[in-house]
Symmetry: C2
Subunit: 410 residues, 2 copies
């Protein structure tokens, strides 16, 4: 039980790592829209107003709002139709009092006009005259010049990860090329004398490598560039050689496997031998995932992840994913476990330890419920059946059926 | 207001589309791990048991559980240490009663052993003898042969989209190549005489194309292959030519723009002219997103999306995203809006209409709250500020501050 004394919480582990981390920022120019999913290197500022003119948001008539004040069904306002706005063109003359211009959604208001009356609130008396049966306020049914984006305004911040709508706003301000941060390279090494590659047929006592592939997928789906280094036997010299190579060639190294004490010791000593400051914590006060080693070697994170597939993915989500995505741990982390669901059964948990339960999500009477997928953390099938991970915080000694838990989709 | 009568609900729109949809299934062989994010074409079945042997899940001693029954601190069981299991190897002799084999996590139990005693619950008297201070039940601290996956078992179902852990299970059963569904090709056309490309400086009355880029990103992040067809003027012949080309070259077509009545009519007639059965609905009973046209032309979906950037993305999420991801609308859709958050202010909504509100998510006293990002649906900046979309169902006439709403992250 000695290890439990050294085990640190996830937030402590993050703090320890953060103190020594120094992940490189490599710039790459990318055109939109291919920059999707990449992180901006610099703030993006708009050079122009969007829209560049007062723009109608409905079909109808551009008017001076004052000309419609007091208008009603019984006492409509009469306006002279003086012209029609053509899409994509500036009206050539300004709107005189008492007049209206026909305008379609997206059209540019003529000078003098300050609102648009919806066509539904008008009637055409003849080709030159409409009656307006409802007043409009100044600015009504109009997006004003610069109302969406003002020239000089910060549009997106440095570090922001580009979503579809962010590509849209870049297009809106005419930015078709951005500098983004290149994906971090993550070396993945598996260790264990019992591990064989998926191509091989396992002999007695052997199992195929699962973690390399789960981790590859997890790195990729967080925007990183995974590189597989294969399986290394549990020998100090071989492991050291492979890890040193992976460390040199990547921004981050994930060593998986070695849940037995002997192998863990080797992995530990190897990581420690790579450089300074070395191992920062042995053991996390979470379940599953306790036998985790966290190290930083000359600014690059190196993680010794547990051998069990479930534990490995849990620790990846908690400690590795944010680094791959952002190059750092976020300050606000409440969106890491954004779902709230009620648990379907009692789950016991030790106080002082965070528990992560694999759950299937189901809907019962319009409420989201989390159904624990029970089973040992060594089972990959367990993880495949799960929709998400539910967190039981360290302060609690478990949750009772019906209690709300925080869930992250897997 | 005539349109409102024709407007259909989202589920009605899905049903109408589904009746005529026939999206192609093109197979592609892919190696794991690069198959991440792709949908399996066929069921995957395990050819072997995983693990292929009874496997220790802790460090300790492989024993016959019966030999430890009744053991306690005061009355321990004495066992003779008869050997040590080497990782990745089959123990060569079986375990005799009264004996124990040293074993590490992941090791193979010798024949005769049915449980593992944790090293923490033993003491070594001498090199040949241990005392066991706690009994183990048969199967304790063991993953039995086939307990994770049984030979013949369905591992992943046809249509399943591969997540990181799914790559892991494929590796576990030795499947290194799978047939996946090729990404669906989605042609994107923008229309509007006022729209210019992002490379151009907009003149008076002109705005840059936003939707092509938002939609490109949205298609890509749902696993599709987007193809941009640029901007077409609002003329029947030009639009027909371009849409016919996009329809021919793709599995699905998205036409965006044309929120004004005149342009909508042209878009409508053009889509109708492409083939059978043609337009299935005009107008959705949602806000924003009402002016949407849904069509199927010889099995391929064609959508006329609203011109406003917010409306376009809302409709994309509701009607297009599932088709791009899965090639169909899912039966269970409760995970489409998986988050629950309390809304920070009253929002009015018309009964009979689903409302989609852009929200920022914030944490207040450990609870998730959704803060509406107010503003017109024509504003792209609105969408960039939002973390998600909150849904107000058609039955409700709005929500009051503090009420819980369903949210989808954007």
């Amino acid at each position: 039980m000695q290890e439990l004394f050294n085990a640190v919480t996830v937030s402590k582990a993050r703090a320890l790592m953060s103190r020594h981390l120094s992940l490189p920022v490599r710039a790459e120019k990318m055109r939109i829209p291919s920059a999707l999913g990449h992180c901006l290197l610099d703030d993006v500022t708009a050079a122009i107003d969007v829209p560049g003119f007062d723009r109608a948001t409905v079909d109808g008539f551009a008017v001076r709002a004052g000309d419609t004040f007091g208008a009603s069904e019984g006492m409509p306002a009469y306006l002279e139709v003086a012209g029609e706005v053509l899409m994509g063109q500036a009206p050539d003359v300004s709107l005189e009092p008492g007049r209206a211009w026909r305008i379609a959604t997206g059209g540019m208001l003529p000078t003098g006009a300050d609102a648009v009356v919806m066509v539904e609130h008008t009637e055409e008396l003849d080709e030159r005259t409409i009656v307006v049966t409802r007043p409009v306020a100044p600015g009504e049914n109009v997006i004003r010049k610069g109302e969406d984006i003002e020239a000089g305004q910060l549009v997106l911040s440095a570090g922001h990860r580009l979503r579809p709508q962010d590509l849209g706003i870049l297009a809106a301000v005419g930015i078709t090329e951005v500098e983004v941060r290149r994906p971090l390279k993550v070396g993945i090494v598996s260790t264990g004398d019992e591990i064989v590659s998926p191509e091989q047929t396992p002999g007695a006592g052997q199992v195929r490598d699962i973690n390399s592939y789960t981790l590859y997928g997890a790195v990729l789906s967080n925007g990183g560039e995974p590189i597989l280094y294969g399986i290394v036997p549990d020998r100090f010299d071989l492991l050291q050689k492979k890890l040193a190579q992976a460390w040199k060639e990547n921004d981050m190294v994930l060593l998986s496997g070695g849940s037995s004490v002997g192998v863990r010791d080797v992995a530990d000593r190897v990581i420690q031998s790579l450089g300074r400051p070395g191992v920062l914590f042995h053991g996390l006060s979470i379940k599953p995932g306790k036998p985790t080693v966290g190290a930083v070697i000359e600014g690059k994170p190196v993680f010794g992840l547990p051998g069990h597939p479930v534990s490995t993915l849990v620790v990846f989500e908690l400690l590795v994913a944010p680094l791959v995505r952002l190059g750092r741990y976020p300050e606000e982390d409440f969106l890491e476990f954004p779902l709230r669901a009620r648990i379907t059964r009692n789950i016991r948990s030790a106080a002082g330890r965070e528990d992560y339960i694999r759950v299937k999500l189901v809907l019962r009477q319009q409420e989201l419920w989390a159904e624990p997928v029970l089973g040992k953390s060594g089972l990959i099938s367990n993880l495949v059946k799960a929709d998400g991970l539910a967190r039981i915080s360290a302060e609690k000694e478990g949750v009772e059926a019906g209690e709300t838990v925080e869930v992250k989709l897997l």
